[in-house]
Symmetry: C2
Subunit: 820 residues, 2 copies
């Protein structure tokens, strides 16, 4: 059994792979292997040792990187902050993946799921030459090595997780649980890619990761690539064993089969017998790749739509935590226990025994075989690196902006609603948007997807099903509607999966929208945090190309929850998002269908942002014609002359401002009430679409200058601001504005219950009657002059409340109201 598996072997023979000509079950004792195979695995082993050496160096050293002289305490870092435990396992997998990438010229992406995998990711990127190409201060040679080591977990340096700074990474390693979802996102519409994702057994205890195992039901083997999950059981988290590592192996096998996978187990029984470990893992990897290709070939040929979903292969790698590190320290076992999680030797500066052990540990990798005298990687180590873009650290899939194509955005005019008079026509903004998104999907059949937790139709986007279906691989019944093996809509009852898939999809170069109930988007607050932080860092890295923005489309919002009641009411995601860097965050509250179209088109063209768009789904008045709407959205806010009662050239007496669809209806209605009841009162109505316009231009790129702000909101007139969310945010955004004194904000104040939309507005005081009363109370002299009007508004308010309670619906005067 011989085979030339050199770096450039690409023939069909070599593709078949030496290990899988006759795949041996991994749980049997291995057959003897040929010399070429051994040579190939020697190369893998050298790479692994080099990566381990560089990893230990990053954790410990700030000088003497090649051990040219015995280690001195001063060569080590004064604060030891890295993590060793997971690192050798990641390096092991990476080294092996390189073998098959070279052999097969396979496009692969690597995702490091376990926490604190930074040293491994960086080490391999350096070995592949990518790191020096990107960061010239960390080049090859002794100086570069010294800097590579110094910068790690050092002030001003790089973190101990995979991060935007890490070439080849699309998955932040700081907060755990998203690696597998990211992996699936990366291969959707990416048919040539295989993403190898190492899943930590600690990470595997998280909810998002546990749910992610079902992702293959949403992967189309024809048009999508493949994910190769490698569950890395090293037994321990920070301080505890892990659930998956400790359950009986038979149970674990059931679990993974239950998830729909075909697991191959590679268990490192003897940590010293690395040759056996290499052999076992290489076999398993070859078997997995063969199986993946076989599934793809079969499905891409003529798959029977009635067949069960394919059972994708995966690997369970059971290896000691801190493998190849110090076995025993101060009399306690370290390798193979949680004690190797962070730094196995924590007193190298003060304990000569620890320092000697560190020297011994580093030398165990035989650095002289790995680096030449100048500190450059030897050719017979470097030979394990794939070439060019095939290097996982240099793959364009991990720098998705390189691959990104602009969406073809069809004109939305034909979906926009012509307006005869503002506020008369009523349509559902979401249904209108759904029609345009249908066209977007049709025009971009492999670069755009819609993600949602079983709510696409509930959020009224069902028109997209005229152009596409929902992806589903398990059985499809005759009764099912819009389910198919392939499709542009991803529906699963997990906000975590929607978010994780979309992040992976965007960061590898495609576009998408996540539509969700407003209240439940908080489920992914923390994932949003990490993505916004990723974007902030990403934007500052010249080598990272801009990616499509992450677009949240929040419907079924706080003001229209009816029977769902209190649990479904929470407009606070905007507040949460605004804490993140202004350069990354955009918030839009389009007041009607036409403005929603304009806003969404803008969002789909944008790059490197998180766009939050909030829109109701119920039929609601159209205020602006298509052109006016586009103009209004470009400005981000504006005075609505049709709704107010201003006298040209004169200052208004009061400003009624609004942001959000329901507040806009109530504000326009309040202005009507005032016009009718208090003729001569100069009311200005201002609608805000782009919330960030309220901030000062110095604080947000979209912020208005002080002068423009005053031109719209006046310097000293009362402002009654009806806002979609928690009122504090409006105060916060306008904190530095003059006329803060005059600002009175109405918004959601957690007074929700089971009720109708208008009743809900009343409970929270943003209803038209209350807004009008607010204006009367704040314009000097008006309350006295119009005490009857004020009383009348109060009475109508109470009447409406009583009607609703009695009849279960809003009174006719509200239901049928439109701008006269």
């Amino acid at each position: 059994m011989t085979s030339d598996l050199g770096p450039n072997a690409t023939s069909a023979e070599s593709k078949a792979g030496v290990w899988n000509q006759k795949p041996a079950p991994t749980d049997e004792s291995p057959a003897s292997s040929g010399a070429a195979a051994e040579g190939e695995l020697d190369l893998v082993d050298r790479w692994w040792r080099a990566a381990n050496y560089l990893s230990v160096g990053q954790i410990y050293l700030r000088a003497n990187p090649l051990l040219r002289r015995p280690l001195d305490p001063e060569d080590t870092k004064s604060r030891l902050l890295g993590h060793w435990g997971t690192t050798p396992g990641l390096n092991f997998v990476y080294a092996h993946l390189n073998r098959v990438i070279r052999r097969d010229r396979q496009e692969m992406l690597f995702i490091a799921g376990p926490g604190h995998g930074g040293p491994a990711v960086v080490a391999n990127a350096w070995l592949e030459g990518t790191y020096p190409e990107i960061y010239s201060n960390v080049g090859g040679g002794a100086d570069g090595l010294a800097e590579l080591f110094r910068q790690f977990s050092y002030p001003g340096g790089i973190p101990s997780h995979a991060a935007p700074e890490s070439p080849g990474s699309i998955s932040e390693g700081g907060e755990l649980g998203y690696s597998l979802a990211h992996a699936y996102g990366s291969v959707f519409d990416n048919p040539k890619l295989i993403t190898a994702v190492v899943i930590g057994d600690g990470e595997a205890e998280t909810g998002p990761l546990a749910a992610s195992w079902h992702s293959h039901n949403f992967l189309d083997p024809v048009a999508d690539g493949a994910v190769l999950p490698i569950l890395h059981l090293n037994g321990y988290k920070i301080a505890n064993p892990t659930v998956l590592a400790r359950m009986p192996e038979a149970q674990l096998e059931q679990l993974l089969k239950g998830y729909g996978h075909k697991p191959l187990f590679v268990t490192v029984e003897d940590p010293d017998n690395t040759a056996q470990a290499h052999l076992d893992f290489a076999r398993a990897l070859d078997e997995c790749l063969a199986e993946i290709r076989s599934i793809q070939e079969e499905c891409r040929g003529s798959r029977n739509q009635d067949e069960d979903a394919p059972r994708w292969p995966m690997i369970v790698l059971r290896s000691p935590k801190g493998w190849t590190g110090p076995r025993v320290v101060d009399g306690k076992q370290v390798e193979g226990t949680w004690r190797s999680h962070q730094v196995p030797l924590d007193k190298v500066r003060t304990d000569p025994g620890h320092l000697a052990q560190l020297q011994e540990w580093l030398e165990s990798y035989r650095p002289e075989e790995l680096f030449d005298d100048g500190g450059r990687l030897r050719a017979d180590v470097a030979a394990n690196a794939p070439k060019g873009d095939l290097r996982m650290s240099a793959t364009p899939h991990a720098n998705g902006g390189v691959l990104l194509r602009d969406l073809k955005l069809p004109d939305y005019d034909r979906h926009a609603v012509e307006v005869t008079r503002p506020g008369v026509e009523r349509v559902s903004p979401m249904i209108t948007l759904g029609s345009w998104l249908r066209d977007v999907i049709a025009a971009n059949p492999d670069t755009f997807r819609l993600f949602g937790p079983d709510e696409t139709a509930s959020n009224r986007l069902q028109n997209v099903y005229e152009a596409t279906d929902k992806v589903w691989q398990y059985r499809i019944d005759a009764l099912d509607e819009h389910l198919a093996r392939a499709g542009r809509v991803m529906e699963v009852l997990s906000e975590h999966l929607c978010q994780g898939w979309l992040e992976g999809y965007l960061l590898t170069g495609r576009h998408g929208v996540f539509s969700c109930y407003e209240a439940f988007i908080h489920i992914v607050d923390s994932m949003f945090n990490q993505h916004a932080k990723w974007l902030k860092v990403h934007r500052a890295l010249p080598w990272r190309q801009p990616v499509a923005s992450l677009n949240y489309l929040l419907s079924s919002h706080v003001w229209q929850q009816d029977h769902n009641g209190f649990s479904h009411q929470d407009p606070g995601f905007i507040d949460h998002a605004v804490n993140k860097k202004a350069e990354v965050i955009r918030v839009y509250l389009p007041p009607d269908a036409n403005t929603l179209l304009s806003v969404m088109e803008h969002c789909l063209r944008s790059r490197d942002y998180v766009n939050i768009v909030v829109s109701g789904k119920q039929p609601s008045p159209i205020w602006l014609g298509p052109e006016e709407a586009a103009h209004h959205c470009r400005r981000g806010l504006g005075i609505w002359a049709f709704a107010g009662s201003e006298v040209p050239g004169e200052e208004p007496d009061v400003v009624l401002a609004c942001a959000g669809d329901v507040p806009t209806v109530e504000t326009v209605a309040a202005a009507e009430l005032l016009k009718a009841g208090a003729p001569g009162l100069k009311v200005r109505v201002v609608n805000v679409v782009d919330l960030m316009r309220l901030q000062d231009s110095g604080e947000h790129p979209h912020g208005l200058t002080a002068r423009d702000f005053e031109g719209i909101f006046t310097a000293d007139k009362p402002i009654i601001f009806a806002y979609h969310g928690y009122p504090a945010l409006i105060h916060r955004l306008t904190y530095r504005r003059t006329n803060q004194e005059g600002l009175h904000v109405r918004g959601y104040k957690e007074e929700g219950t089971t009720t109708t939309p208008f009743d809900m507005a009343m409970l929270n005081g943003i209803d038209r009657f209350q807004l009008a009363i607010d204006a009367i109370d704040r314009v000097p002299g008006l309350a006295e002059k119009h005490s009857m009007l004020r009383q009348g508004l109060q009475d109508r308010r109470i009447k409406a409340l009583n009607h609703t309670r009695k009849h279960g619906e809003d009174p006719e005067e509200i239901r049928n109201w439109s701008l006269a």
Copy 2:
């Protein structure tokens, strides 16, 4: 085979149960059953029909509840907002549980996991008489029934989910995914309780639910009760099939076995053959209960510690969505499809055919057999209800305040640190707290637990292990430390599980603390939302007794992330929490170990709050002796004379305020710099422990009056406020205060990187040098007078930054600083 299974049967014979004398495999065709069994199941069936009738009534009717005359469109609600799909399945399970509760006098708690289970929960509570006992307007009889129907999903009425208003509920049904974690929380330290939790197959797609399956590894069969999961596969979510229902059954079985359970499958093959369904489910239920008791008896006897974890039984109930509802509507199949999710007949007001179908549907339950002429439940239906507290709707376990015992709180004095001079002694607040928590655990061996995602030791609470261990049921190795079958510490790498377990634990009457990295508590933002909303509603219900507060102890906070860097920095949970009702939320930022002890003791005594406590874990200065600390915490904030340079009886020139441990160190140091450099400057130092004191007394129960606020912060002097989190919150909390103009806040502004703590403070401008410079710049005339001092502070600032970047640690002047 005969057995008297009447309502009060409690003999050993009856306990054995007729169905499990010889448990038949549920997948075989059933043996013929005896007459008594049939009679018993007839009773169950009558109950089921009654519950279904009441559920349909709630969804559709507002009058004519007993069908005394043919239905008129006006009898139906004008807006149909309920959900039918999951309801009959929940009713079915509930009816069956009642049978075994009666038979065995078994304490049981019912949790409805599927969304929109409200009609079922309410119907059963009404049938059991609990609803009328609590809500006198919804009594028995026709009027009560009419009101029961009317209030559901009606303005001012009750929501369509299980909610605090629902007797017997501890789990909000609005946001899905937490039922199983709640169930486990409810049985920890509750050895007699079995919690039956119905898990929706939609819900089962969520991350938190997927992770929850592993909870049994953290349940001690000796001291804890048991959970009986009933996975309800009705096939569809809102608009899609569900993953678990569609995967091949063999795969599902592997999955559930892989989770560590022993699943029993009950499949309703023929929806019309309800007798068979009853028989199958009763058998499975009996088998599960027998198995649970057998596990408990075995473990509670003399369990071999080396044994594998027990395999707890569970039921998979496969029944049609919308079972017993309209089979076909307008020519489309409804029963058994997603079309029954909401209202199967949606045009009853306008389409006579629909109305007739509704009438037929309601009559199919034979209401005349269920209710007497007065609309009262017939005795031969009511007989299926357990008595008194055994009713699941009336169980005290669902109203945990009834069972709540005060914690025995040991004096913390012996752990407090005596102070010779403020700021000289240094200890880790978290280590100190850990010692006291050890005593708390020892004094409360079955009513208090500590929950955390593998971070108890990382957060430096390891002293608790002197009194307890971490719970673990899988294999325990010789190498493991502090792992045991029983223990007070719950560690799993899932914030969702920690939160869900703790919520269940608190709401059933015990106490706990959730310790977590500050940044990652955002993972449970949405769960926090729901719990805070639960508490808000719960507090307003007179029949709900106060429960222990949910205590978050957030350590490893934003200012001390070092190598973890940007991904681990986010102090925004406080902002998120403050959006919720003021009456429920408390936020504490104790500046040292002694104040942390005092604050935590207060939190452990409190009821019905969410307490958020943020504290660092690194050794840091002690400012106040034990008594001063207690006094300071009682006041919530105070002037620190020792740190300032005020002249008694005179107004200060500047106020340096601080909230948070790191900001406090920097503020005191800044005051020292000013004292030394600008003698005669009157500096006031104010420390804030209880953040809510900043709000106005009208907005928060802890808020200071305007007068008290001015007494501390002055009416017009500059305030330099160094705050732990995002600065906007301080502006928000002090929004209505005079002297807003003078307030200058420094806090976290997303400038994180990999660095040292002091460098981090510098990057965000809350370091001592910057704060002193801020004061100089804001006190009129000072910048001119002390330009040299200002320049010197700038220089030292830059020097410190350079030192850190070069040496990897803060300069000595910072490291060894203490109050002179």
